[in-house]
């Protein structure tokens, strides 16, 4: 908009000047012509005046000469000859002047020639008479005068002079008319030329006023922009082609501490002790080829503080590449760099910690494997002697039966021949065979059976630790449902009511996770509060990248003292309510932890228990 009207203005003022010059030129030419005409007119007028004057003078001189002669002839006094002498001298001068003035006018010139002849004739007559009179032949002279020849010549001269005068007067009138016409032309030229010039001047004034207004607007705009540039928070520097600073805004002053007066004319890299990320030649090459460059620079402030800036350079070419200036905008990123360095350090420390953790984890996992192997071997090897114990108990039982058979079967021992002699002895043997030994054997058997169960439980736990998992996405809802189905079909539900909420999908081993729910729900069912209908709620929800599941019951609950040992092996808290080895929760914890989850319990004795556990939803390798 501004540029458009400016160019229009420029175009208008462009044709203004040639027109003004043309007008002035025309006025000058016209004036010159008028001046020439006026000069010629003046010359003409002067000539007329000269001719008329000369004619009158000649006539007057002739009259003087004649009057002088007359006086001399009449009186004979010499004093009258003075007038005669002056008249003849003047007449000759006037005639010469007249001949010169009439050169350009043939008619007048011819008259002048005639006049010369006549005056010559007259003067000769006068001279003759004067000479005669001087030589005292006065009468001779008077007789010549009396012929009136001299008077006739004089009259002819007079007529001729009158002719010339009137002829000149006619020409003078013509010249006056010419002068009037010229005056009108000159007036016209003056008026029109002045009018034109006034108009042009007015237009020029308007144009100048408009240009001035425009310029003022631009100045204000420029000043505003400069103000904005100056106020900009970023550092804005302009450098010339020798890297000398030509512009330095307040942002630069704030950042570097150098004032505008100090910075202007300085070389940037010297003033700011710039450290470049690559050679300056490379940067300049890129600046020239692409027109801009971006990078990080290290500058030093006035107080010696080093700062890092993100620098953007833009090349501005002027005068067909010969001179250039560079606009440099710098943004202080020192804090960011420091934060980044801090972050890197934190990240490094974190990596170290993670590594340590991974090592610890690997160590723990190795320890855990060792413990599991140990449990396996121990329980396995313990079974061998146990088998002997159980087997030989059986053998002993059989041996006792055989012995009784040998001693007479079901008959009273008193009747047996070897013992018949002593009834008391018989009773004693019978008591040993039928009561003491079987009782001992029963205790031994009970113990070995329990021993066997415990070892089996340990073996199972170790198997849960070593078992290979086949991990996949598992629909826990379906797992819970099938657990409940098998529990109902084996009538193990103990009359409890189940409420199953939505349970998220997780990533893990379906069989092992089924075991978790089976054990937890099984526990809830087993340890219901006697006399209270069981209500068991199974639910789950997503928490971040984990699934949080729970099994809540209104059963017997847990004594506070149970919490620390809850997930350890062989722990039983309600032995009166159901049978078990105290392995279920240990197995549950083992499975959950191998999946990378956590397990914990809440509850109050006599109110109920809630078991919570988390499982990963993503693909993390269960240990």
């Amino acid at each position: 908009m501004i540029a458009g009207s400016f160019s229009l203005l420029f175009r208008r003022s462009e044709w203004l000047l040639p027109i003004a010059i043309l007008c002035s030129l025309m006025i000058v030419i016209l004036s010159f012509q008028l001046r020439r005409e006026s000069a010629s007119l003046a010359a003409n007028l002067e000539n007329h005046r000269q001719i008329v004057g000369d004619v009158m003078d000649l006539l007057s001189a002739m009259k003087d000469a004649e009057t002088g002669r007359r006086g001399f002839l009449l009186t004979g006094q010499e004093k009258y000859l003075e007038s005669y002498n002056i008249g003849t001298a003047h007449a000759a001068e006037d005639l010469t002047s007249l001949l010169r003035a009439t050169r350009s006018d043939r008619q007048q010139y011819a008259r002048t020639e005639a006049l010369r002849a006549l005056t010559g004739e007259k003067l000769a007559e006068l001279n003759l008479t004067v000479k005669l009179s001087k030589s005292l032949r006065r009468d001779e002279a008077l007789s010549i005068v009396r012929t009136n020849a001299g008077k006739g010549v004089m009259d002819e001269i007079r007529i001729l002079c009158e002719q010339m005068r009137s002829s000149e007067n006619v020409k003078l009138m013509e010249n006056v008319k010419e002068a009037e016409k010229f005056g009108r032309r000159a007036f016209l030229v003056t008026v029109v030329g002045s009018g034109f010039l006034v108009a042009l001047l007015t237009l020029a004034r308007m144009v100048i006023a408009s240009v001035n207004r425009q310029r003022d607007r631009y100045m204000i705009q420029l000043r505003d922009q400069a103000c904005v540039l100056d106020l900009a928070n970023d550092t804005i520097i302009i450098r010339d082609n020798e890297d000398r600073i030509t512009y330095w805004n307040q942002g630069a002053q704030r950042l570097y501490g150098w004032s505008e007066e100090e910075a202007l004319g300085q070389v940037t890299r010297t003033l700011l002790k710039t450290q470049f990320p690559q050679s300056l030649d490379n940067i300049n090459a890129k600046l020239v080829s692409q027109g801009h460059w971006k990078g990080e620079l290290v500058h030093t402030c006035r107080d010696g503080t080093p700062i890092t800036v993100a620098s953007a350079w833009t090349l501005q070419r002027e005068d067909s590449h010969r001179s250039r200036s560079v606009l440099e905008m710098n943004y202080d990123i020192t804090e960011r760099k420091r934060a980044e360095a801090g972050l890197r350090e934190v990240s490094r420390l974190l990596e170290v910690r993670v590594k340590e953790l991974a090592e610890t984890n690997a160590e723990l996992s190795k320890k855990s494997e060792e413990v599991e192997a140990f449990v396996y071997i121990v329980s396995h090897d313990l079974r061998a002697p146990l088998v002997s114990l159980q087997g030989f108990c059986k053998e002993l039982e059989l041996s006792c039966q055989e012995l009784r058979q040998e001693l007479g079967g079901d008959e009273p021992l008193e009747n047996l021949s070897p013992l018949r002699s002593s009834p008391a002895y018989g009773t004693r043997v019978q008591a040993i065979l039928t009561r003491d030994i079987p009782e001992s054997l029963r205790y031994i058997t009970a113990s070995t059976t329990k021993f066997h169960r415990l070892i089996n439980a340990l073996l199972e736990l170790s198997r849960h630790g070593r078992q290979e998992y086949h991990c996949e996405e598992v629909d826990l809802g379906a797992v819970v449902q099938s657990t409940l189905d098998s529990m109902r079909s084996s009538s193990g539900a103990n009359g409890a009511v189940f409420a199953v909420g939505s349970i998220p999908r997780v990533y893990g081993d379906a069989t092992a996770l089924g075991q978790v729910f089976a054990n937890l729900i099984g526990n809830s069912v087993k340890y219901l509060q006697p006399g209270r209908p069981g209500h068991i709620e199974i639910g789950g929800e997503m928490e971040g990248r984990e699934a949080h599941c729970w099994v809540r019951d209104n059963g017997a609950g847990l004594p506070a003292s149970a919490k620390p040992r809850l997930f350890q092996v062989f722990q039983r808290f309600h032995p009166g309510l159901a049978n078990g080895e105290g392995m279920g929760l240990a197995i549950v914890r083992r499975v959950v932890e191998r999946h990378g989850g956590r397990i914990w319990a809440e509850g109050e004795e006599g109110v109920g228990t809630t078991f919570h556990f988390t499982l990963p939803c993503g693909r993390t390798a269960p240990g």
Binding site: A384, P385, L386, V387, S388, G391, E395, H452, L459
Partner: protein, 147 residues
């Protein structure tokens, strides 16, 4: 070929008590075959392949092997592997005896070619049942082969 003779039953177990229990159970179950008890894998291989202390043994008598898995030195799995790797001896029926029912060990033994897998005689009745069934199975197979 002396097929009519009853096979010798080899009981291989490092635990003397277990060997005795097995022998007693077999006899009580009415099995009259000759029973040879051996205490470790080395002895067992010597016996089967007629080497070492058993170099004098005639190798034509038929065998039925009851083999414990866990033994010091050459264990039951190794003994089984060597027997099954031998073209002449691989037809000998082998019953693996173990205190554990660890599924991995069981599947490993089946892979190596054991015929049956029996838990050690905690319950004598079940044990004898298994042996008898296997004995019957083996005699049926032999009859079938003769025909």
């Amino acid at each position: 070929m002396e097929h009519t003779s009853t096979p010798i039953i080899l009981v291989i177990d490092d635990d003397e008590g277990h060997r005795e229990l097995i022998r007693r159970n077999l006899q009580r179950g009415g099995i009259t075959n000759k029973i040879v008890s051996l205490a470790n894998g080395n002895e067992a291989l010597d016996y089967v392949f007629c080497k070492g202390a058993h170099a004098e043994r005639r190798g034509d008598s038929e065998l039925l092997i009851l083999l414990d898995i866990n033994m010091p030195g050459i264990d039951g799995v190794e003994v089984l592997r060597r027997i099954k790797a031998d073209p002449c001896k691989k037809t000998i029926p082998v019953i693996m005896l173990t205190t554990t029912d660890d599924p991995r060990e069981v599947s490993h033994c089946y892979e190596l070619g054991c015929n049956v897998y029996v838990a050690k005689p905690v319950e004598p009745v079940a044990f004898i049942e298994a042996i008898k069934r296997l004995g019957m199975f083996i005699s049926i197979v032999r009859v079938a082969e003769e025909q």
